[in-house]
Symmetry: C2
């Protein structure tokens, strides 16, 4: 292999005319992780924009969703299920509790543990937020994916997530 690898053009980029001239991604284009990262950033940005009026970030939404689907689950298991360090989970849950969306209760049978629940307000809030996401955010994502097979796409994402 010479100085230029086969997938790069590397024209010395003089470009004296005012045309913007597209930047060549070079070997970056062959890295799945790069494409995945750009897609993930765009999707999260769209999520955050969609949830602006709810003031809810992706991590906060995920905590509420897990608690609702598993009421009474121990704090450590919720953080573990989401891959969130238990030390970092404390402040995250504190804020949800301050906003009266979730609550800690003493776990029956283990006085070290907290059992987590949504408040009535939290249940309603999550329902509304999720409906809004489906109607706007997910709807936009489906439009972007177009005719592509969404189910097959999700299957491949899950296979990658199972790497570790």
């Amino acid at each position: 292999m010479t100085r230029q690898s086969s997938h790069t053009k590397a024209t010395p980029t003089t470009d004296p005319d005012d045309a913007p001239a597209k930047v060549d991604l070079g070997c970056l284009d062959g890295l799945l992780g790069y494409r995945l990262r750009r897609a993930q950033l765009a999707v999260f940005q769209d999520f955050i924009t969609s949830m602006r009026d709810y003031d809810l970030r992706p991590a906060q939404f995920s905590v509420l969703a897990i608690i609702r689907a598993n009421p009474g689950l121990k704090q450590s298991r919720v953080s573990e299920a989401l891959g969130i360090n238990r030390a970092n989970f404390v402040a995250l849950l504190d804020e949800l509790e301050t906003r009266d969306l979730a609550r800690r209760e003493p776990a029956p049978g283990d006085r070290r543990s907290n059992a987590l629940f949504l408040t009535a307000k939290g249940e309603a809030f999550l329902d509304e937020a999720y409906r809004h996401l489906q109607a706007h955010h997910e709807r936009r994502l489906d439009a972007a994916l177009g005719a592509g097979d969404r189910q097959q796409f999700l299957t491949l994402l899950d296979r990658l997530a199972a790497l570790d």
Copy 2:
């Protein structure tokens, strides 16, 4: 809709026996962004592990790749192409220059700008790192994706990335 949305089971999770009992993702399972994020984290983790001996993070690799494919490109355009804030790009490039992988040169015709190049060491380093990634990291990703259509997968990722 009642207190429980249609896609959650929400059995009160008493679970007194010692079986670990899988955590229900609830409505999180219906969010594309969640699956995308988990996949991206797993892929980046695999990248970082693969590049341990090279001490090269994804962002550093991307900078080297863009510079190699577009030698002489202005600093602001490199950071812009990667979606990196120009203020944050300074320290990133400083480190690559300290390691003698890239260099700043005065841009011909504009004394405000820097034109970026790889050093000879940077060219060789990137070639070797990229070959190593292809042989190990990307190979593992392909194995994980299995029979799935990689090209279709990349197409859908790019459509999502084009959201904003």
